[in-house]
């Protein structure tokens, strides 16, 4: 009995915070827009009993999903989000791995401080940190003024409101999510393995490539998923730092909802986004499970 109660807790959590909201969104995605409160039809009228429920279901249809396939905006936005997420995950890995490696190689007494420094930015609001990037990257901003002061440029670079700014913002924001899992695996790495490799005639570089990288694979995979999955749906960074050329599904979703005020289409976009995201999430789960089995 106790066991049953314990198991039911996560399932109730899933039901209340995922399944029910998802069903509500799914229902709206099958409705039609209307100039009313709420701005879609039909709404469920329980006072009419069974007839009302039947009439309600009769009016739902897949019209909005058909609409998404007709307009190439949505596919382009999905693809562009995947591309931006993939590139920024790679960039985050390239920046994050050396940092994690440096932290793991640092003397023991330094590590808590270094760890603290990685987490420190979270003490300030994410929004404020993204806004400060606007101040740094704008054409009269700190970066351009510095570059022209040292004489590297004579015309300000346009970085803000371009995809470059979006990449900078994403790499900056998601860096800790890449560093921490990689650091966790590197920290556990058995140093004697590297010594053994060197004894057997491996150069330091090839030992790093043949021993360290494969042994930190789990951390790299975990870090990449932790960055890739949320970046696909990212909305704040592209809307603040991106320009008219930045196309991301999170932004399109927001525009459907707030600018076009078309809740049914917005919901349909959200349902599809979720279906697309489920694939990497399942892959991530598999990876975690494999790791646990290996350790267990």
């Amino acid at each position: 009995m106790r066991r049953l109660v314990l198991i039911s807790v996560p399932y109730l959590w899933l039901l209340a915070l995922f399944l029910i909201p998802f069903l509500i969104v799914l229902k709206i995605s099958l409705s039609d827009t209307a100039l009313a409160i709420p701005p879609y039809l039909p709404t469920l009228d329980l006072s009419e009993g069974w007839v009302g429920i039947k009439a309600f279901f009769a009016e739902l249809d897949f019209e909005n999903f058909r609409f998404l396939t007709e307009d190439d905006l949505y596919w382009k936005a999905y693809l562009s989000s995947l591309q931006i997420a993939a590139i920024s995950t790679l960039l985050t890995l390239l920046v994050g791995y050396p940092i994690a490696y440096g932290m793991a190689m640092a003397p023991d007494q330094w590590r808590p401080t270094l760890m603290m420094l990685v987490i420190l930015p979270f003490w300030t609001s994410f929004l404020i940190r993204v806004y400060s990037w606007m101040g740094i990257l704008s054409s009269e901003g700190v970066l351009n003024q510095f570059l022209s002061w040292i004489g590297l440029i004579d015309q300000p670079l346009t970085i803000l409101n371009t995809n470059t700014a979006v990449y900078i913002g994403i790499v900056y924001t998601y860096l800790p999510f890449m560093i921490l899992p990689i650091y966790a695996t590197l920290e556990k790495l058995d140093g004697s393995l590297l010594e053994a490799a060197e004894d057997l005639g491996c150069s330091r570089l090839s030992a790093f490539w043949l021993v360290t990288i494969p042994l930190s694979k789990q951390g790299i995979i975990a870090g990449c998923f932790l960055v890739f999955i949320p970046v696909i749906g990212e909305f704040v960074i592209p809307s603040l730092l991106g320009g008219s050329g930045t196309l991301m599904i999170g932004k399109v979703l927001w525009e459907e909802f707030f600018n076009n005020r078309d809740w049914p289409v917005a919901s349909a976009v959200a349902v599809l986004l979720l279906l697309i995201l489920i694939i990497p999430i399942i892959l991530f789960q598999r990876n975690e499970q494999k790791q646990r089995e290996r350790e267990g």
């Binding site: 701005p39 704008s138 008219s244 050329g245 600018n259 076009n260």
Partner: protein, 368 residues
């Protein structure tokens, strides 16, 4: 941003004050106002709290579409909101607002018939709303930079500046922002090609697509509030924006003494005139307090203080004697009789046309 920050500070002080009072008084009365960003003199908010003893919670937005989403979702929790005329009309139809009670609004007599007559086309008999501010949609120009790029005779008072690709191609280097507001940017483009800006005909509206396709590569961003700071700092050189916002940018640049000179022009081909109306949502938690706030705003001196601060014209006749010369004497804010005739108003689209328009706008913005 400035408003948002100040507002947070204000909330903190109100909270501390509320805590201090908690021992003595019962829960203090609250009025929640949702207004446009950079759109009021903050001192007025404190004055209202002092005069009435009501706690004022003041939040801001920068797009009619966002406001409408909240109104149509219902249960926004706001007592006073400020949609623009065309949006107000749609939301009245949707049943989002309650009728005003004139007996609680003695200051209604201060209102200006020139404006009230025009707002009646959105809100018959002005039964649901009062005018807060009105203005035009036009061009904010960093004169120095634009003349540097386009020469002395740059068409800074014409839609040619932003809709002719040859001009935009050169301006792209110094930065151009457009409003993210289809209900104003589509009529502007229609005016540029000589069509009726208030056209509801799909075929006519479709004609603006090539106009935007030609200039879109040179538009840095579609956004409805960032341009104030961007113009003032010299980050961009042209913005299609709202009159008072651009005049605020001008003043911020003056104060900063950064050498940036901003000018606002309502394009000579014709510019859109709009009216921001204060209304009370149908589910407002405190409609009584909302009426008190509306009456407070309609006070001649209060309304004048608001206009003197934000550089927008208001619909309050009695306030005019308190307006500073910079406001009442500036034809960019209070246009002459002749210039008024050159301004146009629009009416809301029906549901089907609305969808065509929003799709068209999404397409234009995303460049597909």
């Amino acid at each position: 941003m400035t408003n948002g920050r100040k507002h947070m500070m204000k909330r903190l002080t109100t909270m501390t004050a509320a805590c201090a009072l908690l021992a003595g008084a019962a829960a203090a009365e609250e009025v929640r106002v949702y207004n446009w960003s950079d759109y009021i003199d903050e001192e007025l908010l404190e004055k209202f709290e002092q005069e009435t003893g009501i706690d004022l919670i003041y939040d801001v937005f920068d797009s009619n579409e966002v406001l409408e989403t909240k109104m149509l979702a219902g249960g926004s929790g706001y007592d006073v909101v400020v949609p623009t005329g065309t949006f107000l009309q749609r939301q009245i139809v949707a049943g989002a607002f309650q009728k005003l009670d004139p007996s609680k609004l003695p200051n209604l007599e201060n209102m200006w018939d020139v404006v009230s007559q025009r707002t009646e086309q959105y809100d018959p008999d002005n039964a649901y709303s009062i005018n807060y501010m009105w203005g035009t949609t036009g061009l904010g120009v960093n004169v120095g930079k634009v003349q540097e790029v386009l020469g002395e005779d740059a068409p800074i008072d014409s839609w040619d500046l932003v809709f002719k690709p040859e001009n935009m191609e050169k301006l792209a280097a110094c930065g151009v922002h457009f409003l993210d507001a289809p209900a104003e940017m589509i009529p502007a483009a229609l005016k540029f090609i000589g069509e009726d800006p208030n056209s509801h005909d799909d075929d006519v509206i479709a004609k603006i697509e090539p106009v935007y396709a030609a200039v879109r590569p040179y538009i840095q961003k579609f956004h409805s509030s960032e341009y104030i700071n961007a113009l003032a700092n010299g980050d961009i050189c042209v913005a299609v924006g709202w009159s008072g916002d651009i005049l605020q940018a001008r003043d911020r640049a003056d104060e900063a003494e950064n050498g940036v000179e901003i000018v606002y022009n309502a394009p000579k081909e014709g510019a859109q005139m709009w009216f921001d109306q204060m209304a009370i949502p149908v589910d407002a938690p405190n409609p009584d307090g909302a009426h008190k706030f509306l009456n407070f705003i309609m006070d001649a001196q209060n309304m004048a203080a608001a206009s003197n601060y934000v550089y927008y014209a208001n619909g309050n006749k009695a306030s005019q004697e308190y307006l500073i010369e910079d406001v009442i004497g500036d034809p960019a804010i209070y246009p002459s009789e002749e210039a008024l005739n050159n301004l146009f108003t629009t009416t809301p689209y029906d549901a089907r046309t609305q969808r065509t328009v929003t799709r068209l706008w999404t397409k234009i913005k995303s460049g597909i």
